[in-house]
Symmetry: C2
């Protein structure tokens, strides 16, 4: 079973089960599975809730990466989803399964990484659960984050409109830059950039997603959720030093923001010290794909599957 299939199956089935059953309206669920976080209607606004995991062998290598860095990455990955919705962090809870041979020193480092990054990201760690594998099994970290939606509601993936400009924060491809190693471990979730963007743009900020699987894949997700196709220009991608545009397109773990913004407004060159770059537009949905990339030679490439592990295809 491929994870993408499983996720799709869950999203479809959850959508149907989230329909209010007779006599038990679930109108508290404004957005269920399928966006960066769920959106829950509450008396005083909306809450955002979501979970992400880091599993040794899949997302990190626990043999070669210090465990405090693993803990930090696990928290930051989940916080990046708060940024994607322009949310205000509230708190986090974490569950761990430790391998049998984990040492106290490793555990202490992991715990330091979790607690310190939770504090730095303003999602204090308020609860958790720990187990130790009975048989061989990998370090598994599951981080749930709770946040408050901004006034006017969370910025969803699905709000993009035909004609919107597509903007990206920061630089892309830092992980693949031979000198910039570790960007996938040491990134800064773009919470304050997202908050500033939302503050400046208000309702002109139509849709947003964080880039965790690659510009191609995540761009296609935003565009398809919005009923559009994104057309991006390779020559405009803000490539990290030494990264080619192909690498910028496929780096799975930039954790930058990708936003669809009304064409009526112009963004400043940077927000909160982070550069902003217009890299394309949203068009009417196109059979050729959800995210089309114009190569420097003018030919067009469907980038829907371009991301981590799929670099060879471009």
């Amino acid at each position: 079973m491929r994870e993408a299939e499983l996720l799709q199956s869950i999203i479809e089935r959850s959508r149907s089960t989230l329909k209010p059953p007779p006599g038990a309206p679930l109108d508290r669920v404004r957005v269920g599975p399928g966006d960066d976080l769920a959106v829950l209607a509450e008396v005083s606004g909306s809450l955002l809730l979501g979970v992400d995991q880091v599993v040794d062998g899949l997302h990190v290598n626990a043999k070669t990466t210090p465990w405090n860095v693993i803990g930090s990455k696990a928290v930051r990955r989940s916080v990046s989803d708060i940024a994607a919705m322009a949310g205000m962090p509230i708190a986090s809870v974490i569950s761990l399964v430790l391998p049998q041979d984990a040492t106290k020193v490793q555990f202490d480092a992991l715990h330091d990484g979790l607690v310190e990054s939770a504090q730095a990201c303003d999602v204090p760690l308020v609860g958790g659960d720990i187990a130790v594998h009975l048989s061989p099994g990998p370090l598994t970290i599951s981080v749930t984050v709770l946040a408050r939606a901004p006034e006017g509601g969370a910025v969803l993936r699905s709000g993009g409109r035909v004609g919107d400009r597509v903007w990206v924060s920061g630089e892309l491809g830092r992980t693949l830059d031979p000198d910039g190693g570790g960007a996938h471990l040491f990134f800064e979730p773009r919470v304050s950039v997202a908050r500033a963007l939302h503050g400046q743009l208000g309702e002109d900020l139509h849709a947003m997603i964080d880039l965790s699987d690659g510009l191609g894949r995540d761009g296609a997700r935003l565009a398809k959720a919005s009923g559009c196709t994104a057309r991006l220009r390779a020559i405009d991608l803000p490539c990290a030093r030494a990264a080619s545009w192909q690498e910028a397109l496929c780096d799975g773990e930039d954790y930058e923001l990708l936003a669809a913004v009304s064409p009526e407004v112009d963004l400043p060159a940077s927000v909160d010290g982070v550069q902003l770059t217009c890299i394309g537009v949203l068009e009417h949905p196109h059979q050729a794909g959800g995210c089309l990339l114009e190569r420097p030679d003018g030919t067009v490439h469907c980038a829907d599957e371009d991301g981590w592990d799929h670099r060879g295809d471009v």
Copy 2:
């Protein structure tokens, strides 16, 4: 490393890190790690947030238990923590790590169990994350629940006072009853019983915990958190049919409620169709332990470690 040690280490360290750092008050965290759920101050009351996991080999046997039952158990375990605080369920998010050889049929059954029980327990599944082990590893399910605290605030473990009567809901030892097999898989989280108790007793409901690790252990937790010692009477334990009082004391997974209630008030014989039994009192803290049990012969036994896996000691 023992899990209990790890948890204690986390609780202690988190308490210190939850102290508001200079310039960044975290007064949104009313109760951090160490109770059934965390309590977060929000504009319109308090939110409750917590996570629990089910790992194959530790909490269930995925070879002999149908996967829909495993999913259901995973959700109900977490919802039981909402009951322990008299909370009102809002929603849940779930992360999964599947073994490599999991089949689509197993996954579908698991997903059905998760979604259906989440719906039945009024914590609609609003998000999740799925991974598949790259190397041998167990099925791992992490369920986070979000709830709203009742008016007047959540019922904590720590609110018990000397002189309080100790009450328990339902029957104890059902899992160990040879005819009642599966009680640890098919239990009903006591959310409505807890809500009814809180509604009737108000501030006279001083402290509460759900019995997930055994009456001895969980009783000691409530008593110690309240700065007391619980003194329970073996002859008063509401034993399930065929369960001895030793089994009632040690069944790790009753998922009944244990409450400390003002001695001024009398509880009805049942609430919401579930019987209530007074089984002891809270006393001044005692060197002999947090939970003392008077055996039928009048001798006293320290039950602090009595629970799942520790039955032989009584």
